[in-house]
């Protein structure tokens, strides 16, 4: 059975290894310059206050630099595009779509193709039960699917380690931004890719078993996988662990004021004493801790004199913020502290692995009970 699985899978396996190898070569070729830049940035051994500026300088250099001493080697790139920006983006993109690709092209046809072409009636009439057939198929192909995504993820983690460190200490330049809690970074870092890959694959297999035709099953797999990847960071991930709540002085949260929809909003961008925290929501509260729904009259006047939101100047912003502060208004922030990163990663990966196992169990039950 292992032989048959390999015989049917080897073309796909070669494709996956080739894709991984190409990606590895791209990273290996660009890594030395990235590493030497990091070494000379002065930010490598930095600890404490001034690191943010050094990190910004490093990232700025990276996003403006043409590799290998000149643009000649990379004429293929459009003017103004930088190789490091592109490689970093490609890496994240690959890790994000690899679970969908393996789910669609390896998972969905796994059973559907056997049903569609009738070859299931050939294989399932050899001296081997369907349960055993499915066990070997799921174990080998599923492991390969997880390994491919994890391979991309590990390569990217190795290559982008200096960039991740710069972002962690507060650097933020062009695409090199967004904390490790930001949707794409969270989904492509840590162990989350494992769970996504397992889920995407099991989803494809199940869709193929139920629809019994490979192409519609592939389409359904994509649709569900994308929907889950949108729902997860927006509505589920923030609530996997109970969020912490705190109230801080407006100035200390680097909040931005806006009054677009009639209700005053104060969006915090950082938390004092909580570097790297994931801010879920924030808003103004009065001295008693009640949410502020209407601006104090004096501040409303200041705010009313503000130009449209898109052209709010730093000066008028700080006028409003100072006014709000003088009226005893503080900023309330709901957040996940930086220390919740790994617990959240574990929880999310656990959820997706459990979903994958549940789907696989369903496939066993369906294939055995309902018969093909």
């Amino acid at each position: 059975m292992i032989w048959l699985t390999w015989r049917q899978f080897r073309a796909q396996a070669v494709t996956a290894v080739a894709a991984l190898a190409l990606f590895a070569i791209l990273l290996a070729v660009t890594h030395p310059q990235l590493a030497s830049l990091y070494a000379t940035s002065g930010f490598a051994g930095c600890h404490g206050g001034g690191c943010g500026e050094l990190a910004d300088a490093f990232l700025g250099q990276l996003s403006n630099l043409t590799p290998f001493g000149g643009p000649q080697a990379f004429r293929l790139l459009p003017a103004g595009a930088n190789l490091y920006v592109i490689v970093y983006t490609i890496g994240i993109l690959f890790i994000l779509i690899a679970p969908a690709i393996t789910g669609v092209f390896w998972g969905a046809p796994l059973i559907a193709r056997e049903l569609e072409t009738g070859t299931g009636r050939l294989t399932w009439n050899q001296s081997i039960t369907r349960a055993r057939w499915l066990t070997v198929k799921l174990a080998l192909t599923g492991t390969a699917a997880i390994a491919v995504t994890e391979g991309f993820s590990l390569l990217q983690a190795w290559w982008a380690a200096p960039i991740s460190r710069a972002i962690d200490v507060g650097g933020s330049v062009s695409v090199f931004s967004g904390s490790r809690f930001s949707p794409f970074t969270f989904a492509t870092g840590g162990i989350a890719p494992l769970g996504h890959a397992a889920f995407g694959f099991a989803l494809g297999v199940t869709a193929g078993l139920l629809i019994r035709r490979a192409v519609p099953a592939m389409a359904l797999t994509v649709a569900i996988f994308v929907a889950v990847q949108v729902v997860m960071p927006l509505w589920i991930r923030p609530h996997l662990l109970p969020a912490d709540q705190t109230t801080a002085a407006i100035a200390s949260t680097h909040a931005t004021f806006s009054d677009l929809s009639g209700a005053p909003a104060l969006t915090a961008s950082s938390l004092p004493g909580q570097p790297g925290a994931w801010i879920l929501s924030s808003g103004p509260v009065d001295a008693a801790g009640r949410p502020v729904s209407t601006l104090p009259a004096a501040c409303a006047q200041t705010a009313g004199s503000l130009p449209p939101a898109s052209r709010i100047t730093a000066g008028s912003q700080s006028d409003v913020l100072r006014c709000l502060t003088s009226h005893g208004i503080r900023e309330s922030v709901s957040y996940q502290p930086a220390g919740h990163y790994w617990p959240l990663q574990l929880t999310e990966t656990g959820i997706f692995l459990a979903l994958a196992l549940g789907l696989a169990g369903f496939c066993f039950w369906w294939l055995d009970r309902r018969r093909a």
Binding site: W3, T119, R121, L122, W124, N125, Q126, S127, T129, R371
Partner: protein, 232 residues
């Protein structure tokens, strides 16, 4: 006399339509038996139930004494050539033999290779490039190679022209002659009975009610040729 297939009140419903209902039959060992009926009479459904490809909606079916596809031992005893003789288009003839060898503990490699030789099937040729008749031969080789006690063929010659049909059945009969295996075969047309060696069988009444869809007359079991060995 032992029965190789024993069905009792067997029925299968697809969504709201009954493909087979209230089928009770018993196929004795040591015979070549044909299953005859109009299109939609439920022949393929019955054979799919007998191989465990489908689970019955009502009733029970036992093949060689146990539930079809109950385990590897039971699967090893039943050879099945499914309708349209499915093979893997991307695998070569040799790959198919290897598949048979890997998945069947009782695989008779000599028998399989001899058949492939006799039939002039190139081992390196992809199954997808074979003609309909060659594909059927390859699938039959897989079914025979596992040395089953019971061989079930579902319209094995449906896709063949009359000449190839004759050759295929001749070859089939030669291959199975002398082997004590009950064989349930679904001929495409009653005329195919003539292809079997020995006397032409007269139709026997259906062993029991086999009622097809759309109120069509049910399928009938025919004994297609004489016993290959006296029943034990």
């Amino acid at each position: 006399m032992t029965a190789v297939i024993e069905a009792e009140g067997l029925g299968k419903r697809y969504r709201r339509q009954w493909a087979l209902s209230d089928c009770t039959l018993s196929v004795p060992a040591g015979h070549v038996v044909g299953l005859v009926g109009l299109n939609g009479a439920g022949k393929t459904t019955l054979l799919s139930l007998a191989t465990g490809m489908l689970a019955p909606t009502t009733g029970t079916i036992k093949v060689l004494g146990v539930r079809p596809a109950a385990g590897p031992e039971q699967l090893a005893k039943v050879g099945y050539l499914a309708q349209d003789a499915p093979v893997y288009a991307g695998l070569s003839v040799a790959d198919h033999l290897k598949l048979g060898a890997r998945l069947n503990p009782g695989w008779d490699d000599q028998l399989a290779r001899r058949r492939i030789d006799q039939l002039d099937l190139e081992p390196g040729r992809k199954a997808g490039k074979l003609s309909g008749g060659q594909r059927a031969q390859l699938a039959l080789t897989l079914a025979l190679g596992k040395r089953p006690e019971l061989l079930i063929l579902d319209e094995p010659v449906a896709s063949l022209d009359p000449l190839a049909r004759r050759e295929f059945l001749q070859d089939l009969m030669e291959t199975v002659a002398g082997r004590d295996a009950g064989r349930l075969r679904q001929p495409h047309r009653p005329a195919e009975h003539a292809a079997g060696p020995g006397r032409r069988p007269g139709p026997r009444p259906g062993l029991d009610g086999v009622r097809g869809r759309h109120g069509r007359p049910g399928a009938r079991l025919h004994e297609a040729s004489g016993r290959t060995q006296p029943p034990r």
